[in-house]
């Protein structure tokens, strides 16, 4: 079994134990122990709520760096579709491609190329295939992990296709192997990511045995360097092989997948807490008449990823400007090799993560549930978080599972102290 390793780590030097991340986590994966936030890997879905809620920048993303370029004979960079939206709408897309190559890469290959394949397939699958409706987009890894963790009954609703970045990574690899005679180990595929969920997906992939990506780098880590290159470039510059496909950029916005796939009967929901509310409704069978659910963990879609620089709503405007100002994207080598490319499906089953079940033995689980209710009724119900658990009920669960003590509750402790004083004075 794969190790459940995630990209987000708490920095002990910055964390103050303030409990904000703990309160915002949609899977109750965080506890504060001895003044430090601790993430339970078995429950983490890489949704970035903890990063967004932290005022001290104490959640860092463990990712790769440009130094790893020299480990490979030939390097390909795949900028996330979101990448172009981080720059003003009047930037020339071929200049962006050149600036990326200047970072040291041999080839720039876009997720947008995979979108061309995917968008028609999504519509076909919705119309033709016998998958439970509503079909949930497989695009966002944090959303898939949310389903595995809290909504396992919805696993059968997940779109069977992979996400554009994984398809693009496989395409790029195949292209270089066939056209340049390179072997897999000689090729390094780098991804410029808008979010930690994609970083985790490289080391801990869902729906596939192995990721075709070798190194993930946050978009924000290359932003300054790209900006410097851009500002030094002539206006008249033209780079051959503009592959960013500006017409496919709306894919990075919430609603973009449905729009580009030509699906009309859909719900585009973004922000992980809102996604959870929609999933609750699907579980109740209330949304069976909807064809497609485009769910994104980040607000506004991938443009809202925490590893971006630009505000998601400004980025959306940049996308519109870019699409207006650019000619259609093209890629010289695409026809010959890519036309036969068929690897667009997830190859491994998506299985539930049983992290919330009280006990394997049903009778014992009932017994524990009774204890949880009894303890919860004795707690104040303020959900203040001072004990290090996100709610009084979560503390009760932790106590019953042997992970916390009643004395962790500050009110209980105070009460005990008062009783002791009363006893002594008698």
């Amino acid at each position: 079994m794969r190790k459940d390793v995630h990209a987000v780590k708490v920095r002990a030097d910055r964390c103050t134990g303030c409990t904000r991340c703990m309160q915002s986590c949609p899977t109750e994966a965080i506890r504060v122990k001895a003044g430090l936030a601790v993430i339970n890997a078995a429950r983490c879905i890489d949704c970035s709520q903890c990063i967004e809620s932290c005022p001290y920048d104490a959640h860092s993303v463990i990712s790769g760096s440009l130094d790893e370029i020299k480990k490979y004979k030939y390097t390909i960079v795949i900028p996330a579709i979101t990448f172009a939206s981080q720059f003003p709408g009047d930037v020339k897309i071929d200049k962006l491609c050149f600036a990326l190559r200047k970072l040291g890469f041999d080839l720039v290959f876009s997720e947008g190329l995979a979108v061309d394949y995917l968008k028609d397939r999504i519509r076909e699958i919705i119309v033709n295939e016998q998958i439970k409706k509503p079909i949930i987009s497989s695009h966002c890894p944090a959303v898939i992990r949310l389903i595995q963790t809290k909504y396992s009954s919805l696993i059968g609703h997940i779109m069977p296709t992979g996400s554009p970045v994984d398809i693009a990574a496989n395409m790029a690899r195949n292209l270089c192997k066939e056209n340049l005679g390179l072997t897999d180990s000689e090729i390094g595929v780098f991804y410029l990511s808008p979010c930690p969920a994609r970083v985790t997906n490289v080391t801990n992939p869902i729906g596939m045995q192995e990721s075709a990506i070798n190194v993930t780098i946050p978009i924000k880590d290359v932003y300054a360097e790209v900006l410097r290159t851009l500002s030094g470039m002539e206006d008249s510059f033209v780079e051959l092989g503009n592959c960013m496909k500006p017409e496919n950029l709306p894919w990075a916005e919430s609603g973009g997948q449905a729009l580009m796939s030509g699906v009309d009967n859909y719900i585009a929901v973004s922000g992980i807490h809102e996604v959870a509310k929609v999933f609750d409704r699907i579980e109740m069978g209330e949304l069976d008449d909807v064809d497609f659910i485009e769910a994104s963990s980040c607000i506004g879609g991938c443009v809202g990823g925490p590893l971006n620089i630009e505000n998601p709503f400004v980025a959306q405007r940049n996308i519109r400007k870019l699409a207006e100002n650019s000619t259609q994207g093209y890629f010289q080598m695409i026809d010959s090799v890519l036309a036969q490319f068929k690897h667009i499906y997830l190859t491994e089953e998506i299985s539930p993560r049983q992290t919330n079940i009280l006990d394997e033995d049903f009778t014992k689980a009932i017994e524990k549930m009774k204890q949880i209710e009894e303890i919860t009724s004795r707690l104040r119900g303020l959900d203040c978080g001072s004990c290090g658990a996100p709610s009084c009920r979560a503390l009760a669960e932790d106590i019953v599972q042997g992970k916390a003590r009643m004395e962790d509750c500050v009110f209980y402790k105070e009460q005990q102290h008062l009783w002791r004083l009363e006893d002594e004075s008698e």
């Binding site: 809290k150 396992s152 009954s153 609750d280 579980e283 109740m284 069978g285 049983q354 919330n356 079940i357 009280l358 006990d359 394997e360 049903f362 009778t363 689980a365 009932i366 017994e367 549930m369 009774k370 209710e373």
Partner: protein, 143 residues
């Protein structure tokens, strides 16, 4: 004989409160998932709880919902303080509804509630006295 272990939960449901309607059934769903019950059973129980909860909101002056989890079954029941059902057989017919316009505008009141609850239950009973109130009990077998 050893005492049977039962976990029980009580919920008060307010009349006409559409904003929080569904919170009791969400809680029930969460509990059943935590107990490790299989997905199809959780789904049936959630539908029963939700339909019962909505019935209390739409049709009654308010009432109470109970969940009991036994080692071999899950029981969800409701009781309300009125007004009661005039003709229970008619109320159990698919498509029959007495819901008002407000409820219908919100997408409720299709007349499928009670038939749906009976369909999802392994055992179902209903008692109603017109002018007094209604008592409904739904049971799902475990294992």
């Amino acid at each position: 004989m050893t005492e049977e272990i039962v976990a029980s939960f009580d919920y008060q449901i307010e009349k006409d409160d559409f904003k929080i309607a569904g919170s009791a059934s969400s809680h029930i769903k969460k509990i059943l998932k935590q107990l490790g019950l299989p997905n199809p059973l959780v789904r049936r129980a959630s539908i029963i709880a939700y339909e019962l909860e909505i019935n209390l909101v739409i049709h009654t002056v308010g009432g109470a919902m109970h969940l009991e989890v036994h080692p071999n079954c899950v029981v969800i029941s409701t009781e309300d303080m009125g007004p009661g059902i005039e003709d229970v057989d008619q109320a159990m017919t698919e498509g029959y509804s007495t819901a008002n316009d407000t409820a219908r505008e919100m997408g409720f009141g299709a007349g499928m509630g009670l038939p749906n609850i009976r369909r999802c239950s392994d055992e179902f009973s209903i008692r109603s006295t017109f002018g007094t109130g209604t008592w409904i009990r739904s049971e799902i077998h475990v294992g």
